[in-house]
């Protein structure tokens, strides 16, 4: 048993007051969960503390919340580990940051610390004193009460947005669909989603653009794009690529990958949607596909990035893009001029390769040919090695029957068990 202080962001709409922080002292084994701590506080101190939960086993997806700023499930986060994280972040800020002088509001929003004057020190966290575990409702969602959020507008509406059901070929068969098990393995990762919303809560694109379809819904979209029974693959991809808040609005920050309690890695599914869109020859008005192709082609020719050429080829790809530039291309190119002028002024961009697209040097010696040889091979193969499905060799390394390229495991259980 150990003592913990949990600092909960509370909000009751009926009170008319703004949100506030309240601290509770709880006592439980470090191996128990943050949710257990909250339920103890609710049981012993304040029955009005609102938190949504059910299974306590990371299956139902009800108790999404932020613990020390990290979106997660309350029931899947051990309180001992949460304390270690809180201690670590407090120690990082050391003595120079002002966190140590933050006035503590006592339980019930007491008045200590609100009085101004030299005696405020008595109400500050002493250096090395207990660091509270900070618990907040999920982000990117309206709060209904305390830790209970409204998932309708930013989660369920977006899930419905991607048509989350099968759109099959022709008439439905009389009995079940017959598919090769191998053809379904590809989507097992996205099928593991429990709709908890932790990824949505953590999404840094959605924080800047609330209209972004978001990680949960796009992972769900891949679940149907990758399903061999679905007949609308190209339509789905076109829709998601053309939407300015679709697959090309993901800022590749990995927040959802770390937030997901089930290993779905929504960002990886978004990257697979982009790859499939490219394979299906879908050109989008957001320069998503042209940016990807420009990048890939530049490295084949130059080995390192020609930034000027990337900009030009992303907005106005190829001869056609330059002869008949789109309105967006003209707008974006003109929009980038002030930045370029500033770069020339400071000397940042004052050289021909930086000013003129395509002047950038190649890798020295025969190195560029080596890069081209790699392209030639990979464009023919284009294999995806999904660790979620294939697992790490690790404990299987001693097995005698591991052959080159052989698939050892097709079960996601490996990744789950880690």
């Amino acid at each position: 048993m150990a003592d913990y202080t949990i600092k909960v962001r509370r909000y009751q709409p009926e009170s008319g007051d703004p949100a506030y922080w309240e601290e509770f002292n709880v006592e439980l084994d470090p191996s128990l969960s943050v949710l257990d701590g909250l339920l103890q506080a609710k049981d012993r101190e304040d029955g009005s503390l609102a938190v949504r939960c059910s299974c306590r086993a990371a299956i139902c997806g009800s108790c999404g919340m932020k613990v020390n700023g990290q979106s997660t499930l309350g029931c899947k986060t051990q309180i001992g580990e949460a304390q270690e994280q809180a201690d670590k972040m407090a120690s990082a800020l050391g003595t120079t940051a002002d966190v140590a002088s933050t006035p503590i509001r006592g339980v019930g929003g007491g008045t200590e610390g609100t009085e101004s004057g030299p005696d405020i020190e008595t109400a500050t966290i002493p250096a090395g004193g207990p660091v509270p575990i900070v618990i907040e409702p999920m982000g990117n969602m309206p709060v209904i009460k305390d830790l209970v959020t409204d998932m309708e507008s930013t989660h369920w509406t977006k899930i419905r947005r991607v048509t989350p059901w099968l759109l099959p070929h022709g008439e439905a068969p009389e009995r079940e669909y017959i598919v090769e098990p191998e053809s379904m393995i590809d989507i097992t990762q996205s099928m593991a989603c429990i709709q908890c919303g932790a990824c949505v809560s953590s999404c840094l694109s959605m924080e800047a653009d609330p209209l972004f379809i978001g990680p949960a819904a796009l992972a769900k979209a891949y679940r149907f794009v990758g399903d061999p029974r679905d007949a609308e693959t190209s339509e789905r991809l076109t829709d998601l690529a053309h939407d300015p808040h679709g697959i090309y609005d993901c800022t590749h920050c990995f927040s959802c990958v770390d937030a997901c309690p089930k290993g779905v890695a929504p960002m990886d599914q978004i990257m697979r949607l982009r790859r499939k869109a490219g394979e299906n020859g879908i050109e989008d008005p957001n320069s998503g596909h042209s940016h990807e192709m420009a990048f890939v082609n530049i490295i084949e020719k130059k080995g390192t990035l020609d930034e000027s050429l990337l900009l030009q080829e992303s907005f106005a790809p190829g001869v056609l893009g330059k002869l008949m530039p789109t309105k967006r291309a003209i707008k974006e190119m003109i929009g980038s001029l002030p930045t370029a002028v500033r770069g020339i002024k400071t000397g940042k961009m004052r050289s021909l390769p930086k000013l003129i697209p395509g002047v950038h040097h190649k890798l020295p010696g025969g190195a560029q040919d080596d890069v081209k040889a790699i392209y030639k091979h990979a464009e023919e193969h284009n294999e995806e090695f999904n660790l979620y499905i294939k697992g790490e060799e690790g404990e299987l390394a001693d097995e005698p029957d591991i052959e080159k390229g052989a698939e050892r495991s097709t079960s996601p259980a490996n990744a789950e068990a880690k």
Partner: protein, 304 residues
């Protein structure tokens, strides 16, 4: 590890030799002052920044296996100065290390170039961002001893870049759990004051600058604004791509978030270099878009 002389195979990345040339220059100065020997991998290729992997995963894995193999040929571990390179390369390395069959397949392609990537069973060969190398291999005590001009009174906001903080499992956080507080440690070691603000581990927005300029610059502008509100004199970042959005695009970001900005953004080697006694001019700070004058003024208040 506190080897007397650190020598690494050095991958500077593309942007440090492109739109942020001051990064490449300042790293050379700092390495010399710290006594870190850099063997530059001038034949190595772009890490793909995640974009090549988005197009063709095997292509990205093979290209980065090539870079690793070039580094291993020198007999040295690898160092990079770009969070994005670190993230993209670690992703490929994780797949290559996970499966001997897959690795053999990739190495077959490289064999035509006389190259081969070997998994390091004990982790003795590794690829580290300068920030990681500075804390884990060079050591903060040793760094503290080199400080000629403590950054006393300079209020510095850390900005990590997503690719060296997430995903934790892939980036060695099991072995080095403090990697997401190294910038704070370095700032403190150099005598500066840490500024806590909301954006330190968030996304600069650069990856979507081409596809959704508004989302991108909203992110950059918000983080810079938050740091200013928290009292920062400057930000420091180990990622040149973050620098592009936070510094080069800062005037444009200011328009999007509709407020005045104007906050210096230093590359990690520049901040270290200032404390080691290098001049702002040597460190290329004049090349920045957001003026670094205020940082220079605060520093000259302390005798060099």
């Amino acid at each position: 590890m506190m080897a007397d002389q650190i020598k690494v195979a050095y991958w500077p990345g593309c942007v440090s030799r492109g739109f942020t040339p001051e990064l490449h220059g300042s790293m050379a100065i700092v390495a010399q002052k710290l006594g870190i020997e850099l063997v530059e991998l001038d034949r190595a290729n772009c890490s793909g920044a995640g974009v090549i992997a988005e197009h063709n995963q095997e292509l990205a894995d093979t290209l980065n296996a090539r870079t690793f193999a070039l580094a291993q040929q020198t007999g040295l571990s690898m160092m990079n100065i770009c969070s994005t390179c670190q993230g993209a390369q670690s992703e490929c390395q994780q797949r290559l290390d996970a499966d001997s069959g897959y690795r053999a397949h990739i190495n077959e392609v490289l064999s035509g170039q006389g190259l081969s990537y070997e998994r390091s069973e004990d982790g003795s060969w590794n690829n580290k961002n300068f920030l990681w190398l500075l804390v884990e291999d060079y050591g903060l005590d040793r760094l503290a001893a080199q400080v000629k001009r403590p950054l006393s009174g300079l209020r510095v906001g850390p900005f990590y870049g997503c690719y060296i903080v997430r995903p934790k499992e892939r980036l060695g956080y099991n072995q080095y759990p403090d990697r997401d507080i190294y910038l704070e440690k370095v700032i403190e070691t150099l005598g500066g004051q840490i500024v806590e603000y909301d954006g330190a581990r968030k996304c600069c927005g650069f990856p979507v600058i081409t596809m959704n300029r508004e989302t991108s610059l909203t992110q950059a502008g918000t983080h810079v604004g938050d740091a200013i509100d928290a009292g920062a004199d400057c930000l420091v970042t180990p990622c040149p791509l973050c620098h592009l959005n936070l510094d080069m695009q800062q005037p444009e970001a200011a328009k999007v978030v509709n407020r005045d900005l104007g906050l210096a953004v230093l590359h990690l080697p520049q901040l270290v270099g200032l404390a080691l006694g290098a001049t702002p001019k040597e460190l290329g700070m004049g090349k920045h878009i957001a003026s670094t004058k205020w940082v220079e003024e605060r520093l000259t208040a302390v005798p060099a």
